[in-house]
């Protein structure tokens, strides 16, 4: 069955002239590539444009993929570079939403993370909102680590950093995400009360 073929098998078929195999490869990775693009662009239209651009670039450069690393790692490197170029071009404000006036700061910062207080909205909604409030780099590292099945070394390769730097960045990104999550939930609780 076609869907059971590995990325490498599909790439071999594409290089042999089977263009349809690339559609299978796109289907396999499109959700993750789109999510990564969304971490940078913060809007769906731009994210779709970036993701599409990435797959076209990957197709053009497929012959140069040597198989030294996982295809996903190679693809995510293209996504990261394309998204960075996009940000530079569009000059999207990459500052955290921390500085925005719309965000309500809750005074008490000490209480533990407790999602059970808010029952009418799903946890994934809050998580996605908190991730969207992170800096693109933080959101990318978190996404690559938890959803990209990437090791610290592979993330380092994708982002062009040292593995130790990624480890430190991941730790800080988790802390920031936790803070955002707590603040959002507290804000929600405050509104409910």
């Amino acid at each position: 069955m076609q869907s059971k073929l590995s990325d490498i098998d599909l790439i071999e078929q594409i290089l042999a002239g089977n263009q349809q195999a690339y559609a299978d490869l796109v289907k396999r990775h499109q959700r993750f590539v789109f999510t990564l693009a969304l971490r940078f662009s913060k809007n769906r239209e731009d994210a779709e444009e970036i993701a599409q651009d990435c797959f076209i670039k990957a197709y053009r450069a497929l012959a140069s993929y040597g198989g030294q690393s996982k295809f996903s790692t190679w693809l995510y490197t293209i996504v990261y570079n394309t998204a960075m170029t996009f940000l530079r071009k569009k000059r999207v404000a990459t500052d955290s939403i921390d500085d925005e006036a719309t965000f309500i700061q809750v005074e008490n910062n000490e209480s533990a993370y407790d999602a059970h207080n808010v029952e009418n909205k799903s946890r994934s909604f809050y998580l996605n909102r908190a991730i969207a409030q992170l800096l693109p780099d933080d959101a990318t590292i978190i996404t690559l680590f938890y959803k990209g099945e990437q090791s610290l070394e592979e993330i380092a390769q994708t982002l062009g950093m040292e593995a130790n730097t990624v480890k430190v960045k991941l730790f800080r990104a988790r802390q920031r995400l936790k803070d955002k999550l707590e603040r959002n939930l507290k804000h929600e609780v405050k509104e409910l009360i």
């Binding site: 289907k27 999510t35 076209i56 999602a115 994934s124 998580l127 938890y146 480890k167």
Partner: protein, 167 residues
């Protein structure tokens, strides 16, 4: 020195040394602060791992494949044609012309004087004497002209090729 949180994250991710892993496991068992923080981070870790990926539009794959197909179709004919075919045709013509030239040159001496083919032409028409026109001297000039032309053309071809190689 790592903070408690940093140590616990390393423990959860499995990035500690075996000795470090044992030490933190013992701390979690014995120290209530460690245990509480560990439970909190474990819960967060599960939460982060449950994050859902976003879905692009339904036509995403189709759009990508269409763009690729359009790009391939737009490829100029010059790039699409196999250069080996062009080279093959060129080699064929060059060899044919060369063979013809060599054959003609080899037979010129004996045939130049043999322009006395008997053809019945009306007496009113006077043909020029071919032997006077296609003299050995004229033929040599013709070959000379061809050689100069070939040298000139190959020179301009190589000049064109050089900058493209450097580019």
């Amino acid at each position: 020195m790592n903070t408690i949180e940093e140590q616990l994250w390393n423990y959860i991710d499995g990035n500690c040394t075996p000795a470090g892993q044992d030490a933190i496991a013992r701390l979690i068992e014995q120290d209530e602060a460690y245990s509480k923080k560990y439970q909190e981070l474990l819960q967060l870790n599960l939460e982060f791992a449950s994050m859902e990926l976003d879905e692009p539009s339904m036509a995403f794959t189709y759009n990508v494949m269409e763009t690729i197909r359009t790009e391939n179709a737009r490829q100029p004919l010059k790039a699409a044609i196999d250069k080996r075919i062009i080279m093959g045709i060129a080699v064929f013509f060059v060899f044919t012309i060369l063979a013809l030239l060599v054959y003609t040159f080899a037979n010129t001496h004996s045939q130049l004087s043999a322009f006395d083919i008997k053809v019945k032409i009306p007496a009113a028409i006077k043909l020029p004497n071919a032997a006077n026109i296609f003299t050995r001297q004229a033929f040599k000039w013709f070959i000379m002209f061809d050689v100069v032309l070939a040298l000139f053309l190959s020179d301009s071809y190589l000049r064109r090729k050089k900058p493209t190689k450097h580019a």
